[in-house]
């Protein structure tokens, strides 16, 4: 029997030999044993593990391995070929030294690679200082080192995590950034301004190389040195491509990550805190890596966090604060951060879109080292992420356990041996490291099983390099309480891929050419690399580049740009070779070459409107903590039209609650003059969200309709539509027009529905105030020609009245009968078409009725010029954890689950094929305390299905709605109510689309589309939708659209509307942004 099993397993492992990586243990283990003087409860980073550095220390052409140990000696393993290693002794290498990060550098410029090891010291009983091993060369095959940190001023003590050598001032020698972590009590975040107070023991350091000695230049260079920076991740890279290296620091806990942009004068400016250039970052930032992941020549930023992928771990782990408390953290001076990996796609000009969820890499458990490199040599960089934690201190059941008073007292009064037993109760979360394959469109597939296997481990620092010189990248991983691993890459044996290996010979004071860039053109694609060894977590890669070339046999061109700007281009280089590039062969300055300007279609305008929309903090989550998003942040629409009969486009600037609506009158010279809407500003309490300029009374003068909403009021005057009629003295409020009609409005149209020559009105509502998901009434009014409107919602508009939570309507003649039909977008509903026969509206049966979405917007045009009208519709997008299909929808249940007379709106979605609530246990039990009685432990809650969690009958009888599609789509009209739904391009899905404008931006007579959006007021469990910078999609004239990646305009922020206007004969677009100033863009005419 036993034999049989063994045979089976043999056989199995034989058939699995197609794995891309073969595992081999290395003779090193980072063993950690909690002791009373040092353990996970008295040193919070006790389990962070050790680092890995790869480099050829004996110049034999074979990469060697350096592994750091925390409570064990570090180990240097010399590569003897065929992946055999032998260890050599190091001076001052003691298990008493708590080593952390390791990086290589030729610090004395003798052509021999030296080693710098960071360590934790001056904490508890930990002593010592950072060590610098100077390579003494090899005699008789034995390489020797001396420890000489003091000579260079680098024998520093403190809580060091990692170092990066780089030439920030471009003076030709290598300076150093030193990353430290902190042991400051991490929940007391207080005011973020603490970050500007220098703390010499815990603050990061920037040291300048002055004739071979390192001088602290931190203070003068704008580096934040604070006790609240828990620095765990460090990369240096020329992020904005200006020739000067920048710095990215990942900080654990509440402190922001730092994006230091080199100011070219020896100083840095931190762009995340001051300019919010990143939107949001990892909350519990660990390691990071900066490299170009979408082959556009711009480095992208990858940072990892601790979001569990397994649903049970996720639901049993502590997650983000609820929305109201989260706001407090923001008010205290911190940037938005969420527990998720982040991938900041570089959009050029220091603009980034965070796309980790859409790219499929947001959740990789408790992660340490992200390494982005082309492991399968197909020309696209893949991602390896190490993870696992010996003491998962975020396990809520453990937290409850340790909260026991008796245990607390023991921990408080100095720990003894017996107390160490408590640490054993900490769940050890061993998890398999991840491999993600880049599919070429910056979307990644989890190929852990295919490329390697899913074996749980506690893995920390890792590095890649071609250890067996076969042209592909092998991996070395440092593990806690297990041998370090070497993963031999068999790609070159397995596939017929080719490669190019590049080595650098720099100048005398930077022999390894650190900071050099490589731009590789092959078959119309670009690959971009930087020679920056410090990457991932506490680790560094060799100072060389291995580029995968897929099936190409040559490279069309290769440009190397050295740190001083000099460059060299080589053409038609054969693949599968090692190429050494010399700085002395390069010349002139790459950054002096005038760049070919990219074709621009629109650009940001310099015109600034003296108006700021001020929306109050959303109270939606205070009222309904279980909802996925707020409904109180829908404005402002900025409406364009001539309101003073001077032929110029004026602007209606709507005011949020307690802010008066104003009109901005355009002057002959193109400037705008702000004026009150009305002498008597009695409606400033209204949250105005939409307006239309139209001729209500058929006198050929524009009148104005203003609508309010905002989920602030449930009824009454603040929800009445307001009609202003143009009189000789200006706009006059016609109070009687819509009295006693209360609409929490979303949109409206003035359209001649009955073809009698005057403009009728449709007014739509998105919500019933304070009743999340309930269907509000829609309205239709017929104009008698003089501006008197009759409500025909229940007759003519019967099909419209209860159609759903409408966010957008376009009235267009879809069936060619001469009457405008309604095309509607809304939440919990499909794109719906109501045909108009001149007496009533009738729902058109379509094939897209099952595509229920959180549709915010739509536009109708004949995009493919086939004579019928097609539809573009803006939805929630794909860049959150939420996914929805017909089989696995998002479901709203409205029920009084706890019989207290109040309906609780509960929203579920499918995650890993299981229906689960968006709300966490902590949020749920506040609303529904009975859940605490049923599921005492987080563990039991995590295992419960939705119908175990909540009374079955209540779920069955609940008011239900569904969402089956979250992507923004293009619907090509194929006639007879048939539409072909097509997913809009990648960048259209990275955020919610709130408005779309159709125009011929490239003047090719085909209609194009500009999409705007973002949404900040969503559940903190879902993060924040801030990735959109506005997206121009050009009509490819073949029935689809082309997205513009690097655009010459930037619409950051929560955009709500975009409208076209003319200023001095030039086409402009104005974007309404929630709670900030509007943005003006100008069309570029060529």
């Amino acid at each position: 029997m036993l034999l049989l099993i063994l045979c089976c397993s043999c056989k199995q492992s034989n058939t699995k030999h197609t794995a891309r990586f073969l595992e081999q243990n290395l003779p090193f283990e980072n063993t950690l044993k909690n002791a009373t003087h040092l353990n996970i409860l008295n040193y919070l980073y006790y389990y962070n593990g050790g680092g890995t550095a790869l480099g050829d220390f004996n110049n034999d052409g074979l990469l060697d391995i350096y592994l750091t140990g925390n409570q064990t000696e570090d180990k240097l393993l010399i590569n003897k070929g065929k992946l055999n290693f032998t260890s050599i002794p190091l001076p001052n290498n003691s298990s008493e030294f708590f080593s952390t990060g390791v990086t290589t550098v030729d610090i004395n410029n003798d052509g021999l690679l030296d080693i710098y090891v960071c360590q934790v010291s001056n904490l508890l009983e930990l002593k010592g200082s950072n060590r610098l091993y100077i390579n003494q060369g090899s005699t008789n095959g034995l390489t020797t080192f001396i420890e000489d940190a003091e000579k260079y001023g680098l024998n520093l003590s403190g809580l060091f995590t990692q170092a990066s050598f780089f030439d920030y001032d471009l003076d030709g020698d290598l300076d150093i950034f030193l990353l430290k972590h902190s042991v400051h009590p991490n929940s007391n975040y207080n005011k973020g301004t603490i970050r500007y107070k220098t703390d010499s023991t815990q603050g990061d350091l920037l040291l300048k190389n002055v004739n071979g000695y390192y001088i602290d230049n931190s203070g003068k260079s704008g580096i934040l040195q604070t006790k609240i920076s828990y620095g765990l991740g460090l990369s240096t890279s020329d992020i904005n491509n200006d020739g000067y290296p920048d710095i990215y620091v990942g900080n654990d806990f509440f402190e922001n990550d730092y994006l230091y942009i080199n100011q070219k004068d020896g100083t840095f400016k931190e762009f995340n805190t001051t300019l919010n250039k990143l939107g949001h970052t990892t909350h519990f930032s660990m390691g990071n890596d900066i490299t170009d992941l979408n082959n556009d020549g711009l480095p992208d930023i990858l940072s990892v966090d601790m979001l569990p992928e397994k649903i049970e771990t996720l639901k049993a782990a502590g997650t983000e604060y609820g929305y109201p408390i989260y706001q407090n953290q923001l008010r205290n001076g911190y940037q938005p951060q969420y527990m998720q990996n982040t991938l900041h796609l570089n959009r050029g000009d220091c603009t980034f879109s965070e796309i980790a969820f859409q790219s499929g890499i947001a959740a990789t458990e408790w992660s340490w080292s992200p390494l982005a490199a082309d492991f399968d040599a197909d020309g696209y960089k893949d991602i390896f992420i190490s993870n696992g934690i010996a003491g998962a201190t975020n396990d809520m059941d453990f937290i409850n356990f340790i909260s026991d008073e008796a245990i607390q007292k023991r921990l408080g009064s100095g720990m003894n041996e017996e107390d160490l037993q408590l640490i054993k109760k900490l769940p050890s979360k061993k998890t398999p490291n991840y491999f993600y394959k880049n599919n070429g469109t910056i979307q990644f597939k989890d190929v852990t099983q295919e490329w390697f296997k899913k074996i749980p481990s506690l893995s920390n620092g890792a590095s890649y390099g071609d250890l067996d010189n076969d042209g592909d990248l092998d991996l070395v991983i440092n593990n806690v309480n297990a041998p370090a691993q070497l993963l031999q890459n068999k790609t070159r044996e397995k596939d017929t891929t080719s490669y190019l290996k590049i080595r650098f010979k720099g100048d005398a004071t930077n022999t390894q050419g650190i900071g050099a860039k490589l731009i590789l053109h092959s078959k119309g694609t670009i690959q971009y690399f930087e020679n920056s060894p410090t990457r991932g977590f506490m680790s560094s890669v060799p100072p060389e580049i291995v580029a995968g070339l897929g099936t190409s046999t040559n490279v069309d061109s290769l440009t190397v740009v050295w740190q001083d700007g000099s460059f060299q281009t080589l053409y038609d280089i054969a693949s599968n070779q090692v190429l050494t590039l010399y700085r002395k062969d390069a010349g002139s300055n790459y950054y002096d070459i005038p760049k070919l300007p990219k074709r621009a279609y629109i650009k940001n305008s310099d015109i600034v409107l003296p108006y700021t929309h001020r929306d109050a903090t959303s109270l939606d989550f205070n009222r309904d903590p279980l909802i996925p998003y707020a409904s109180s942040n829908q404005g402002p629409k900025i409406t364009v039209g001539d309101l003073n009969q001077d032929g110029l486009d004026d602007l209606v600037l709507l005011g949020a609650k307690s802010q008066a609506t104003q009109i901005s009158y355009q002057q002959e010279n193109g400037s705008f003059l702000l004026a009150p809407l009305h002498k008597d500003q009695k409606h400033h309490i209204n949250e105005d969200v939409y307006s239309i300029i139209f001729d209500a009374n058929s006198d050929n003068k524009n009148d104005l309709l203003i609508l309010s909403g905002g989920n602030e009021f449930t009824k009454g005057k603040p929800l009445e539509p307001r009609l202003y009629i143009q009189e000789p003295e200006g706009l006059r409020f016609r109070e009687s027009a819509f009295s006693n009609i209360f609409i929490n409005a979303s949109t409206a149209s003035a359209v001649d529905i009955d073809n009698d020559g005057d403009l009728d009105l449709s007014i739509s509502a998105d919500i019933v105030p304070r009743e999340f998901g309930l269907t509000p009434s829609q309205y239709l009014f017929i104009n008698d020609g003089t501006g008197n409107f009759t409500d025909v919602s229940s007759t003519y508009g019967k099909a419209l009245q209860n159609v759903g939570n409408v966010h957008d309507v376009q009235w267009r003649d879809m069936d060619g009968n001469g009457y405008p039909d309604a095309v509607l977008a809304g939440h919990w509903m499909p794109i719906t078409i109501l045909l108009n026969n001149g007496t009533r509206l009738k729902r058109l049966k379509t094939n897209i009725e099952s595509l229920s979405g959180w549709w915010n917007s739509l536009e109708v045009a004949d995009f493919d010029k086939d004579g019928d009208l097609d539809i573009i519709a803006g939805n929630w997008g794909s860049n959150t954890r939420l996914k929805a299909t017909k089989q696995q929808p998002i479901t709203l249940y409205r029920s009084d689950f706890d019989d207290n007379g109040r309906v609780d709106p509960l929203v579920t979605y499918y995650y890993q094929n299981q229906e689960t609530t968006i709300a966490t246990k902590d949020e749920l039990v506040k609303q529904l305390p009975f859940i605490n009685k049923k599921f005492l432990s987080y563990n039991s809650f995590a295992k419960a299905t939705v119908d175990e969690l909540l009374p079955k009958q209540k779920l069955k009888d609940a008011y239900k709605k569904e969402v089956t599609e979250l992507r923004s789509l293009y619907f090509e009209n194929q006639g007879n109510g048939n539409f072909k739904p097509m997913s809009l391009p990648f960048l259209a899905q990275i955020s919610s689309v709130f408005d779309i404008i159709i125009d011929d931006f490239d003047n090719d007579s085909y209609p194009d589309a500009l999409l705007v959006g973002n949404n900040y007021e969503i559940s903190t469990q879902l993060g924040r939708l801030d990735a959109s910078k506005g997206l121009l999609m050009l009509n490819d004239t073949k029935g689809f659209f082309t997205e513009i990646h690097q655009q010459n305009f930037n619409i950051s922020g929560p955009a709500r509307s975009v409208s076209k206007l003319e200023i001095k004969g030039k086409t402009h677009y104005i974007v309404g942004l929630n709670s900030t100033s509007p943005l003006l863009l100008q069309k570029v005419e060529d």
Binding site: N190, P324, E405, F621, N622, P625, R902, D904
Partner: protein, 450 residues
């Protein structure tokens, strides 16, 4: 039925008969049973981390259920039906095989079980008692137990109308303005303000939550000479002085003794957890036990004391919370960190709700009046309540002295200004006296006058 079950069936019948014939002994319930039930409830309240106002509700209703049963059977005591808002008479007691003390302890345990989360922490103890009593006198036990549960149902029906469930889904407290005078979440857990709608809970005796509305706190001002700023500075100065004197100073002992914060957040790395302690209500329930034992109270007298004290405290929380979210005043920690010393931490952890008035002061004032009306003014006692939580015993000459110390402890702890302590104590005393006068619990007045 197969042979085995037949035999088994006969065995059951025989054994039942056997137990029936041996049930001559009556079930004896001592005051200790009631103390034990309350102590165990306190343990679960700590474990489940109920906030102080919610805990006061968990103490009150079970006590009332037990008291109503005992008082209905007593010459000395009068039931509370008709005296508490909305409480009607409990169902008539059985006439045969009935032991009111069994019914009362059953009602108390069942009510407590319903009000907490972790039921198994109570039910195993209950079941072991049930087994003993059932063995002692099955008929008496069953009759009394069923009646006790019937009364519990009666009390639950009344309790369910107190608006507690409705307040669960009312809007959470919102901090939206930049107004510095308004409360905002405090380190280290930055919890949202708890129970912002507690003033909508139906009170037991007082007419409305605002009946004992205190005078407003000193007007907010960061001017150095303003009363408000002086009080803020006083908190800081006292704290600095105490801290300099060290952990063994009288003030620190007092502060820690009366901490009574059920959720003290502790952070170690990614690990953030709460140390759990009793609530102010729990502390005074402990004092009630000590006094009852010292006075050799029987079961009915014991429940009388618990009931009166718990009602006074429950109303005190309603009254206090009404003011907290009315004045919505910022905690000293927030202002001291922003204006005086950004690394200052109070000796006690700031609890998650607005500052004015001090909850412990109001509740201690009310509880001390209730207990004084029962045990008299100069009733000295050794307060051992905090010993299980690692704190020493303290001796008090009277309940009122204890209440005064509890009140001032909040200033020593750095979590309240003086006005909140002084006005809070006044509010609690006034409310306590009102409750004492409003309720007729003893048939003939025997207590020392207050």
């Amino acid at each position: 039925m197969n042979t085995f079950s037949k035999i088994f069936g006969v065995f059951v019948i025989v054994s039942t008969l056997w137990s029936c014939q041996n049930d001559a002994e009556p079930i004896v319930i001592s005051p200790e049973h009631f103390h034990e039930s309350i102590d165990r409830t306190t343990t679960v309240i700590i474990h489940d981390i109920f906030s102080p106002p919610v805990a006061s509700r968990i103490y009150a209703y079970p006590s009332i259920a037990a008291y109503e049963i005992l008082a209905s059977n007593s010459e000395e005591f009068t039931p509370l039906a008709g005296q508490l808002n909305g409480l009607s008479e409990i169902p008539n007691a059985p006439t045969e095989n009935y032991n009111p003390e069994v019914a009362a302890i059953v009602a108390h345990m069942d009510m407590s079980r319903r009000l907490i989360f972790s039921e198994d922490m109570l039910t195993s103890y209950r079941d072991s008692l049930y087994t003993v009593w059932s063995d002692q006198n099955k008929a008496e036990f069953e009759t009394s137990k069923n009646y006790g549960l019937e009364v519990a149902n009666h009390i639950v029906a009344w309790m369910d109308k107190d608006n507690y469930k409705q307040t669960r889904t009312m809007p959470k407290f919102a901090v939206t303005t930049g107004d510095e005078s308004r409360w905002q979440p405090t380190p280290p857990a930055y919890m949202e303000g708890i129970e912002p709608h507690w003033n909508k809970i139906r009170p037991f005796v007082i007419d409305s939550a605002s009946q004992f509305k205190p005078v407003p706190p000193p007007a907010f001002s960061m001017e150095k000479n303003s009363d408000f700023f002086k009080e803020l500075k006083e908190v800081y100065d006292i704290s600095q002085k105490i801290t300099a004197a060290g952990d063994t100073s009288e003030e620190i002992e007092i502060a820690q003794f009366w901490d009574c914060n059920p959720y003290v957040s502790v952070t170690r790395g990614h690990l953030m957890f709460a140390t759990k302690k009793i609530t102010p209500g729990g502390h005074w329930m402990g004092i009630t036990k000590i006094a009852s034992q010292k006075a050799n109270f029987d079961a009915t007298q014991t429940m009388y004391a618990y009931t009166k004290a718990s009602i006074a405290m429950a109303d005190a929380f309603i009254s206090c919370w009404d003011e907290k979210y009315r004045s919505n005043l910022v905690r000293p920690e927030t202002l001291i960190n922003d204006h005086i010393d950004d690394s200052w931490q109070p000796i006690l952890q700031t609890p998650p709700f607005p500052e004015y008035v001090s909850g412990h002061s109001v509740v201690s004032g009310a509880a001390s009046e209730a207990l004084t009306s029962i045990f008299g003014d100069n009733f000295s006692f050794n307060d051992t309540t905090e010993i299980p939580y690692g704190l020493p015993m303290r001796n008090f000459k009277s309940f009122r002295q204890a209440a005064q110390e509890a009140a001032i402890s909040r200033m020593y702890g750095g979590i309240h200004y003086r006005a909140a302590v002084d006005n809070g104590l006044d509010q609690g005393i006034a409310l306590g006296k009102f409750v004492v006068n409003a309720l007729t619990m003893q048939t003939s007045t025997q207590t020392a006058s207050n």
